[in-house]
Symmetry: C2
Subunit: 150 residues, 2 copies
């Protein structure tokens, strides 16, 4: 290998490692933000997720007839639940983050233990890096894992 | 308003309009890609979505026990359906794209008409702009809209 080739390989390796480092760094940040919001949620505090969501957030869950658009409507949906959620334990299963510079998608399976019930979910969160460098959720999609239909 | 303020306002307006133009442009592209893949799907061709998906695509649908990771596994899931889908009509309801430079999220509600059945879905697709400037799906989440559970 001559010096030019060596320099090219070194530069390629540096770029690859920089990308990986960026994704790993973002991945840690995003998962920590989600877990912090989920901890608050499981103790009945809906404002963890609301404070983490952007004004233009869009939202799906299996109780809604249609996609819900905007933080105002999400707040109206969540506010009546404040203090009424009691998740005794949860498992965030195999969280994965795919990221570019200013946007990242987090996906995971989820088990929540509420009283004697165990609920199984699929979850997709899309985060966008805002002008103040804070990551905010712009899309949430909750669905039941393999629901048994009537 | 003095000239300096005027120049600042003009520059701010240019940036805003550039962002909006970028999002509108990306929005058109993404929705066209999704519709083209959906047209092929509705005629029984699963390769529209497979060709539009990246190697590292992650995928949820309500028939799966867990998130599915990677194009290879998605191909194994879809291949047996080739030639067996017959969607007579579909409605992509209120598609919305939120985008940064190299990533975009598309969300919509969906109605598919298959024989005498009408199915209602929630859908989230995340697209990433690849090195060749092509947009590829890196995350798909299909779920039933307000399923009636047993």
């Amino acid at each position: 290998m001559n010096m030019k080739t060596f320099a090219l390989v070194l530069s390629a390796l540096t770029i690859t490692s920089a990308c990986t480092k960026h994704e790993t760094e973002v991945s840690k940040q995003i998962i920590a933000l989600e877990k912090a919001a989920m901890d608050r949620w499981s103790h009945g505090d809906v404002y963890g997720f609301l404070e983490l969501s952007a004004e233009d957030v869009v939202y799906f869950d299996p109780m809604l007839e249609k996609r819900l658009d905007g933080l105002k409507k999400l707040t109206e949906l969540y506010k009546p639940l404040q203090g009424k959620i009691n998740v005794s334990k949860y498992d965030m299963i195999d969280p994965k983050v795919q990221a570019v510079e200013n946007m990242a998608v987090l996906t995971y399976n989820f088990k929540s233990y509420e009283g004697e019930h165990v609920y199984q979910w699929n979850c997709t969160e899309v985060f966008r890096k805002e002008k103040d460098n804070q990551w905010k959720i712009i899309q949430t999609h909750w669905s039941f894992t393999k629901p048994e239909l009537k």
